[in-house]
Amino acid sequence: MLNISKVSKLFNPGTVDEKTALIGINLHLKPGDFVTVIGSNGAGKSTLMNIISGVMRPDAGNVEIAGDKITLLPEYKRSKWIGRVFQDPMAGTAPRMTIEENLAMAYKRGKPRTLLLGVTPAKRAFFKEQLSRLGIGLENRLGAKVGLLSGGERQALSLLMATYTKPQILLLDEHTAALDPARAELITALTDSLVHEMKLTTLMVTHNMEQAIRLGNRLIMMDKGRIILDVNEQRKKELTVAQLLNEFEQISGKKLADDRIVLG
């Protein structure tokens, strides 16, 4: 489904500040794979997400989704394949517009936008039904401005907006990191159920080690722009946080350093 081959990305090449963000990354996701990504500061996790979503272009290598080579496509053209949730709960929704208007915009992901009405009665019924899956009462607040919602509610809405049109690839970029523990847990549970229900091929960056082990069928660990560990489904079932930390130290020769790491 997602095929990344020999992707490299440098920042400030040729200067004293040169930094290797990604070097020779190969990653292949099968349809329905749910891969969690962990790694230390500056490991290249965010750069990898940005390369896949088209915010940045790789200096070398290729990105393919479902057989289409998309390496050089701009971000807005890739959204046909990609649904995305950002870390910042404010980033995924338009605050001055209503819940139903936000859903209507997400409904047209990757499709031409014309002069037809964005919210029709038929679509409204569909939005209501979809919102009720979140189980937080948003289905009764279709006309409310999104700016009035709490961070957790906004992130739940972002998650629904990114997934309910069944993208080929779902990118989750630390999407629970900015929430308090209770709400982060709610969003995590929602993520798990939505991804499973719709069998979405998913790549999720997280700082929560326990979450990385618990969710998904595969775990990769990154360091200094490389994938240093790739744990398959069977091994992942028996994995513990302690083992994971130990493994990191053995491979990279240092302790896992991350300001925001959550051991779980």
Binding site: Y76, F86, M105, L115, R183
Partner: protein, 305 residues
């Protein structure tokens, strides 16, 4: 007092004509969050195109629509300069405003064109009736547009550009469309204004942006701006209120007609500063109240989410 009342229909008429321009400013300033100075030039472009076409025998309605089209082109160029040329938004507007000065002189051939004695859209019918109809129709069409899929992505471009791009909108295109539509409305307003005053003048657009801002801000301050329908209505009413304020200001003995632009600037400053002060006072009061509550009830959790 009686003469003031007598001048009211004229003020309302003018307010409605300028309301179309204010709706244009609303699109750039409020929806796209893009302060666009092109309007200073495109207002005159609209007036010039309408006058020249009418004096050359075109139907007044065709001339009015052509004015709309001329503004759309001017706005699209500003949009292209800003998005494709990566020129700062304010600067691309200023560049177009200057360029339009020469272009407008080319269109009109001379600094002043009048159509005295020739038919305009106002010749055969009551000005107020025509203007009311044009403004209502334009406002409703604009409301409708802002609820289409394209209109939603235009609004989201100003609200959360990153988000709408991640859902596949080319925000450069939506910006160009928005700025183009805005200037089309401004030029339409200029075209109507020229026909109402039976003349187009090269300097008729000077200060138009401030009048537009004043209308938008006064409208929001008095009538609120919750939904699109009410927001655009507030802009139209704001434009009328602005004209009434100006008419009253003219009556003040120690003010001169030439003080008009200064008065407008002061109105805008007051309208911009007062809500900010009000908001910050309200915020402080709320914060004090909440912290007092928390002090008296230490068990209670603060803030929520």
């Amino acid at each position: 007092m009686l003469s003031l009342l007598k001048s009211m229909p004229g003020a309302i008429e003018l307010g409605l004509i300028y309301a179309l321009m204010a709706l244009g400013v609303y699109i750039t300033y409020r929806i796209l969050d893009f302060p666009d100075l092109t309007v200073e030039g495109s207002f005159t472009t609209g007036g010039g195109i309408a006058m020249i076409l009418i004096t050359n025998g075109a139907s007044p309605w065709v001339a009015t629509i052509a004015a709309f089209g001329g503004g759309a082109v001017a706005g699209a160029v500003t949009g292209l300069l800003h998005t494709k040329g990566k020129i700062n938004g304010l600067l691309s507007g200023i560049i177009m405003m200057i360029a339009l000065y020469s272009i407008n002189l080319r269109i009109m051939g001379k600094p002043n064109v009048s159509v005295y004695g020739i038919d305009t859209i106002f010749t055969t019918s009551n000005v107020l009736v025509v203007v009311v109809i044009v403004v209502i129709v334009t406002k409703l069409l604009l409301d409708l547009f802002l609820h289409t899929d394209l209109g939603l992505s235009l609004r989201a471009t100003g609200d959360n550009e990153r988000m709408i791009r991640s859902f596949g909108s080319n925000t450069e295109t939506t910006k160009i469309i928005g700025i183009s539509l805005s200037n089309a409305l401004v030029a339409l307003s200029g075209g109507l204004f020229a026909q109402q005053s039976t003349a187009a003048d090269i300097s008729m657009g000077i200060g138009v942006i401030v009048v537009g801002l004043a209308s938008v801000i006064i409208g929001e301050a008095i009538f609120g701006a919750r939904k699109v329908f009410w927001a655009t209505l507030a802009v139209v009413l704001g434009s009328i209120v602005y004209r009434i304020i100006i008419t009253i200001a003219y009556r003040v003995e120690w003010l001169k007609a030439s003080d008009l632009k200064l008065i407008t600037a002061v109105i805008v400053i007051v309208a911009l500063v007062v809500p900010t002060i009000q908001k910050s006072l309200k915020q402080k009061k709320l914060a004090r109240k909440r912290s007092a509550e928390l002090l008296t009830d230490p068990v209670q959790r603060g803030g929520g989410q």
